[in-house]
Amino acid sequence: MWNFAEHGNSTAIIDEYGKTLTYRELKTESEKLAAIIGKRCLVFSLCRNEIGAVVGYSAFINGDIVPLLLNANLEKELLNNLLEIYKPEYLWVPEEMVSEFQNMSEEVNMQGYSLLKTHYKVDYHLYPELALLLTTSGSTGSPKFVRQSYANIKANTDSIIEYLELDSSERAITTLPMNYTYGLSIINTHLMVGATLLLTDKSLMQKEFWNFFKSEKATSFGGVPYTYEMLDRLRFYRMQLPSLRYMTQAGGKLTPELHKKFAEYAEENGKKFIVMYGQCEATARMGYLPANKAVEKCGSIGIAIPGGKFHLIDDNGNYIDQPDTTGELVYEGANVTLGYAECSADLAKGDEWNGILRTGDMAYFDKDGYYYIVGRKKRFLKIYGNRVNLDEIDRLIKGRFDGLECASAGVDDHMYIFITDGSKADAVKDFVANKTKLNPIAFKIIVIDEIPKNDAGKILYKELARYYE
């Protein structure tokens, strides 16, 4: 994937503690790790925005080893469940976590991370083009992963570099987890052009983040809608950030008010604000709103990325060719991934989608061909940029609270969990927050007499909407 040798002694990574790694060192370290593993196999990588995690990731991708990326703070029971389902040969984990895996042997420790050998019997095959497994709904620990190929990653990386006009002078600071497709796309692109990654897990609400930002002269960052709400509250517009060149936004729809504020801030301060659209199923990105249209086309996800195409279909699957008509958004391009995996046997599967992705998002385009998302076909919410499957939440709750009637619904960043037994309210809220590792502020429990259902026993989610709309 990456040719680190061509970037020589340029700095590839700087972490928040001042540790740096040149491209030459990244090449040496990643080749060493790949050689220790020595064969194509599946590795679970527990990620933080740390040098060791990036060294591991680049070793695996460049070394024909398939990583499955997870957040290092994934709840233990969910992780154990995934281990049993996928039976990886190795784990790559932050060294402080080694003691949590007593039945595994430590093979090597590098850059603060440890390679652990598991003892699973490997009874599955890896499709030769399979490069990477990313979660569709990381926080609920769903076993459903997206299968990305080497060609998918390469195509999407090249396209992003082209429309963001990235070169080796960029210094992107991390604001998103690297196991999250959007965060990972920033790593993929910057390693490709020989730019510098500024790695930190500190949040925008911490002084250390901004000190690191300023001292290392960050040129860009990405954010989900919630990131921009935080920046708005921080009165970001008044901050002096001369090194900043551009900001990107993805992971859900920003309110038109915030879109306008940041677009105008960028225009007035000689920066760029680029709203983008994507899904893990399309590697990362599918659409972008060029910076020079940010104000004029406020609220739009823009146009398809270079090499990709959008179109809309109606309920019967027919093309929609009229502007301002809503239909399901369909994307075509080389970055459409191979398909899903739900168990280790699925890792042998080839390309099931053939370059065409029905996004599940409802959209229209205007007379100039700019697309606008208006809703979703599937039952999931984006909470702080994380896709949370509502049926999965209901399943988890019912699994934990035997016989409890529950149904979850809501809008992005606000989930409403309906139950009929008020005595369980606090316990349910704690359980969901703990399982998803999302702040409980996102969840509200509503106790009602009865969950509305139709004659066939199907939950009528539309009737629940009146409680929160």
Binding site: L204, M205, Q206, Y226, M230, R233, A433, P440, I441
Partner: protein
Amino acid sequence: MTNRELYDNAFIEVLGVTNEQLAGLKYQDVETWDSVGHMSLIAALESAFDIMMDTEDIIDFSSYEKGMEILSAKYEVEF
């Protein structure tokens, strides 16, 4: 309610902590005090004391004690 009670209540309500946990409590000591919790905590304090905090103070607000120090030094909230 005294200013101290208003201050404590914002922590207890937004972060879901108990009175006993307040002394010495720092950012990220509890799972609920992450960036999302921080933003909600600041919003609760701004509304409780009818103030508007500066960026520097929001990001400097790293513990229960530090917050009191900032509010009394810069926003005339006496504890």
